[in-house]
Symmetry: C2
């Protein structure tokens, strides 16, 4: 009997390794740096809202990743201070962004075992969005690079993009399970493309990526962490 | 007899469409904006040198493209003014960067005909570096997207990357001619990879991309413009 699933797609950031926490650390630093220069009613939470609004406004031109995030921080710093922020603070924002591009990769629990266990029996494909060079750096540092049959760094995770990527894999998109921590990017568009989606929650997820899980959809699954992935796939056949 | 060449790789920026001129316009604006805030001995040329130095220093972290260029402009503005540049000027630099991400694509002479003429007889592959989303936008706007059998947006153009891209094409890298305006990125590493390189000079080329042509190398060719490409390829067989 033909197998149901022959290919597994993995998201990278906060699915295989920590990422969002470096954004949170930087955002905290952003709030500290701007504290002395913003109106008193702009508490860190409201400041975070303004930054998120800038990020979303800029997604269509910058795409995902640290460079766009840094530019959105600078833009927000200028905006919320009515252009009174000193250049020295902007310099520190640039340096904070550069630190994000150099943070050491730390794998999430079970990531290495999960990918290694599947690499023999399935085609395993990494699908990630963000800055090209930075995603390549992180993959290289993760030590997982050689396990993947293909690596796709994409500007957006849409049903069309998933179809394009997985139509070339054996089993096509219908025979592929995408695994990731973003319901919005890894699960919903993959199921819309005709594939399968497994949600692996991460305790830190970017506001923008949050979305209700498609409960009841037979192509949707959820696991506690990556230690449960091989068992789930074996069950599905 | 087997054909010598079966695949043609095209660079994009300043090979198929104008690009560098938008960097030049922005750099001029950068000099104008900073004019009132920099020491008198820092003329536009020296300011350009400082910006180029920042771009090169940041290549390893930002990679190529407009987002990194914008961040390097801001960094340079802070540096050359000893952090005295007003936030309003930095805001204008951010806007100048955003304008670069929205400039309308204008094809170079003969680009459309050259790609169209080859698309039937050769595999045609676009190979470009820069920001993922921006390169995708430019390709979509160019109207040439459907002519290419494959599009590769890469973080760097090295012999290894060329080998990886073209080993999957019929004829492999040895049967592929890469065509572009950068001797450093499009010609030299492609020939080092075992392929062929054709240099199509553009009147504006980024300082960083300049390099001596490999005169006398039988895999090196130079043409005046893309109208000569089909003839050159026919001659080589």
């Amino acid at each position: 009997m033909a197998r149901t699933l022959t290919t597994v797609g993995f998201d990278a950031d906060d699915t295989l390794w920590h990422n969002e926490r470096f954004f949170r650390i930087t955002q905290q630093k952003f709030a500290e740096l701007l504290g002395d220069h913003t109106p008193v009613d702009l508490d860190p939470e409201r400041l975070g809202d303004r930054l998120l609004a800038a990020e979303q406004r800029n997604l269509g031109r910058y795409g995902y990743g640290v460079k766009g995030f840094t530019l959105s921080m600078i833009e927000t710093a200028i905006e919320v201070t009515d252009a009174r922020v000193p250049a020295s603070v902007i310099h520190e924002l640039i340096e904070a962004g550069q630190m994000m591009l150099a943070f050491p990769i730390e794998l999430l629990p079970h990531a290495q075992e999960a990918v290694t266990a599947l690499a023999g029996d399935y085609r395993v494909v990494l699908v990630t969005k963000g800055d090209l060079l930075d995603q390549e750096r992180k993959l290289a540092q993760s030590g997982l690079g050689d396990l993947f049959d293909a690596v796709e760094i994409v500007s957006e995770k849409t049903p069309e993009i998933y179809r394009e990527i997985f139509s070339n894999q054996p089993g096509g998109v219908a025979g592929t399970m995408m695994v990731g921590n973003s319901v919005r990017s890894d699960v919903v568009p993959m199921i819309a493309a005709g594939g399968w989606g497994t949600y692996v929650p991460h305790n830190l997820t970017w506001e923008y990526e949050k979305e209700a899980t498609p409960e009841g959809d037979p192509h949707f699954h959820q696991i506690k962490d990556l230690s449960e992935l091989a068992g789930l796939l074996a069950k599905l056949g």
